[in-house]
Symmetry: C2
Subunit: 387 residues, 2 copies
C-alpha cells in the first residue's frame, strides 16, 4: 500500500522538499492533494508531474484561470470555498503543512480529522493555536510530527520520556548573519543584508527572526506547548554551524545530541516514514566538521530578545498571539525600511508590556475567531505605535 | 520489591562504583552476594557495611581466614569450590561482573542462569567467549548490558535498530597519555608514565592498552560481537576529552551522540534501573565544555595498532583469544620493563600472523577449556618470542 500524502502549501520550500522526496520514492509515496495560495504556474507543473488528482488554490483570482488551463486534464480543481472533507473522502496517511504564518492555522485545524499524521513547521499556527490543534489531534486520534529541525530533534530524542526524566533541553541557534557584527549595525543594517542567513535558505520573515534571535524565542514557546516539558528546562546556545540541532540532558546523567546536515529534507523525510529507517543520501561523519563545532552562551546585549523568555506564559494563551503578531508586523515594517532591525525587539517589548494585553496572559484560545480578533487588534496597535 | 544484586569482583573499581550507588539507594537496592579474589579486608568491610548474607573468595589462602574473622556474624562464607547455584537459590535481578581479564569468563558463564540481567565490562571474557556467553544468555533468557561507556552508549542508542538501519558507528578514543608525544617516546617510556591516563582512573593493564590504542581495537571487536552490526561500520576517532562516547549515523540521515561525564558510575547506574530514568547527580551542560571538544582521525604511524582492525575475524573465533592473550602477555612484559611500549603492538602483529594460529581464524569456541588451552599456548609462545 502506498502512503497517501496531502500537501498544504505545495509551492513553498517545504512543499518542494517533500515533492523531491516523493520523486525519489514514487513506488511508496502518492500525492493526493496539492494546495497553493497564488503560485498557480508552479501548482500546475507539480500537479502534472506527480499526477495529482486534486488541487486547491486559496486565492480566488486564479481559480477560474486554473480551470481553463487544466480543462483537458482529469484533475479536480477546488477553491478555498470547498471544504477539505469534500476532497478527502477518507483519512489520508500523511499531511504536511508548508504554509507559513497564521494563515496556516485554519487549514491545519481543518485537515486534522482527515489525516492519520500531520507534519508541520508552521510556527505561528502552532504558537497561537496549539490549544485548538491539540484538542483536535486528541479528538481525531491524529499524530502530530514537528518538522522544524530543532523540534523534530526534540521529538525524536524524547519520544519515550516525560517531563520528570529531563533536566535540560538546549536549542541551538546559528546566531544569524549578525552574530559577529557590532551591536550598532542592528540600527542601520538594510533588510537585504539582514536576511542573508549563513546556513539555511529561508524566507525573509524567518531570516529576520533569525538575525535577532526571535526565531529561537518562538521555537522555545513552540517546543514548550508541543512537548509538555517545563519552560525553564529550555536554554539557547549559539552554535554557528547549525549541525547539532538539540542537546538533551536526562536526569540519569546521559546527554544526547541530534545532528543532521542543514537540510530540511532530512526531518521531512523521517516524518513520512516515521519509525522505519529508510535510506536518504547524506554526508558521512567528518572529523573536521566535528572538530570545529562551536557553542557559546547568548550575548544578552546583542540579542535582547532573549529577555522575552521571561515574559512567556506557561501554557498556550492569547498572549502568544500578541507576541507572534506584534513581531510579524514589526518584521514587515523593518522589511519596508520603516523601522530598524534593533527596533523590532525594542518595540515588541514595549507592545507586549502594554496594560491592555495583560488580560490575554492567562486566557486560553477557544476558537480561531478569537485568535484572529486579537491578531487584528495587535496588528493595528503595532503599526500605530511604531510608525 | 528491592532489586537484588550480586557483585562478582566487588573490591575492584566497578565493585566500588556499584556499592556507592547502592549506598545512595538502599531503599530500592539490596546486595545478596559479594565475591573477591584476594582483597579479604575490603571484602569484610563491604559485607559488614551492606549487610550482605553471602560472600565468596576465590583465593583459597583467605578462605579459612575469613571464616575466623567473621565467625560471630551471620554471613555465609564460600570458597571457589562452591557452585554459584548453591548460593543463589533463585534468579537474582541483577549481577555485575567487575572481574578483569579472562578469569571473569567462568564466573560470567556460571552466573547467567542465576540472574535476570548481567552487566559487564569484562572485555577479555566478552571478546574470547562471546559465543559461549551468547548461547547461555539465550538459553536462560538473561539480559546482557555492557557497562563500558562506549558499549553502553551504543547499546543505549541502537536498542530499537538493526544492522540495516545503521551507516556508521564511531567509537571515540582519548588517545591516552602519548597522544601529543613524538612516536620515539613509545620506545623509551616507562610503565609508570605510560599508565597515567589523562581522563579515566583505571587499572595498569587497560591504561597501557589505552596508551597504544589497543583498548579501542578490543572495544570494536567487543562491540561487533555484542551488537551484530557489520565490522566495517565501526570507526575510531580521537577525542581527547572523553566526553562524547559514541557517535552513530543512521541511514535516515540522523546522527546521534551520547555524552556523559567521564565517570563509570553513570553507565553502571543506568544498567541497574535499565529503562527507568532515575536521578543521578552529574554536571550540567556547559557551553565551554561543548565548545572545546576535539575530534581527529587516528594517526596510523603513531598508533599502528589500528591496522590490526583488518586482521579481526568477522565473528567470535578462537583467533580472538590469540589476540587477547598475546596482548595480555605483552603488556605484562612491558610493565615488567622487558619490552618497550612500541614493541607491544609490533610483537602482537608478529604473533597473530604466525602460521600456527591461522587455523583458529574461523574456529568458533565451543567450550571454556578450548579457550583456556589456546590461551596457554599463546601465553607460552608470546613469552618465548618476546623475551
Amino acid at each position: 500500500m502506498k502512503i497517501n500524502i496531502a500537501i498544504l502549501g505545495s509551492t513553498g520550500s517545504i512543499g518542494e522538499n517533500i515533492l523531491d522526496i516523493v520523486r525519489k520514492d514514487k513506488k511508496n509515496l502518492k500525492v493526493v492533494l496539492l494546495t497553493a495560495n497564488k503560485n498557480y504556474k508552479k501548482l500546475i507543473k507539480q500537479a502534472k508531474e506527480f499526477k495529482v488528482k486534486n488541487i486547491l488554490i486559496y486565492n480566488d483570482k486564479y481559480y477560474e484561470f486554473l480551470k481553463v488551463k487544466l480543462k483537458d486534464r482529469k484533475i479536480n480543481i477546488f477553491s478555498r470555498k470547498t471544504k477539505l472533507n469534500i476532497i478527502l473522502k477518507k483519512k489520508v496517511d500523511y499531511t504536511i503543512c508548508g504554509i507559513s504564518g497564521l494563515s496556516g492555522l485554519k487549514p491545519t485545524l481543518d485537515v486534522i480529522k482527515l489525516t492519520k499524521t500531520i507534519a508541520s513547521a508552521n510556527k505561528e499556527s502552532i504558537i497561537c493555536g496549539w490549544n485548538l490543534i491539540m484538542k483536535k489531534l486528541k479528538k481525531y486520534n491524529t499524530k502530530f510530527i514537528p518538522i522544524d529541525s530543532e523540534h523534530f530533534s526534540i521529538w525524536n530524542l524524547t519520544k519515550e520520556y516525560s517531563n520528570d526524566d529531563i533536566e535540560e533541553i538546549i536549542l541551538t541557534a546559528s546566531g544569524g548573519p549578525l552574530l559577529n557584527s557590532p551591536i550598532k549595525i542592528q540600527k542601520t543594517i538594510t533588510p537585504e543584508k539582514a536576511v542573508r542567513h549563513p546556513n539555511w535558505k529561508m524566507g525573509k520573515k524567518i531570516s529576520v527572526d533569525s538575525a535577532n534571535l526571535m526565531n529561537k524565542i518562538f521555537e522555545i514557546i513552540e517546543a514548550n506547548r508541543m512537548f509538555n516539558f517545563d519552560l525553564d528546562k529550555y536554554k539557547i546556545l549559539i552554535h554557528p554551524q547549525s549541525y547539532v540541532h538539540t542537546i538533551i540532558k536526562f536526569k540519569n546523567g546521559l546527554i544526547k545530541m541530534l545532528l543532521h546536515d542543514t537540510n530540511m529534507k532530512i526531518p521531512i523525510f523521517n516524518s513520512i516514514y516515521d519509525n522505519k529507517i529508510k535510506y536518504i543520501s547524506s554526508k558521512k561523519i567528518n572529523s573536521k566538521t566535528l572538530n570545529n563545532l562551536n557553542f557559546y552562551e547568548v550575548d544578552k546585549l546583542k540579542f535582547p530578545s532573549i529577555k522575552l523568555l521571561k515574559k512567556i506564559s506557561k501554557e498556550n494563551t492569547l498572549y502568544d498571539t500578541v507576541i507572534t503578531i506584534a513581531n510579524d508586523e514589526l518584521v514587515k515594517l523593518f522589511l519596508q525600511n520603516k523601522i530598524s532591525l534593533r527596533q523590532v525587539v525594542e518595540n515588541l517589548t514595549k507592545i507586549i508590556n502594554l496594560k491592555e494585553y495583560k488580560k490575554y496572559y492567562s486566557k486560553k484560545p477557544t476558537s480561531l475567531d478569537e485568535i484572529y480578533k486579537v491578531s487584528e487588534l495587535v496588528r493595528l496597535k503595532t503599526n500605530r505605535i511604531s510608525v
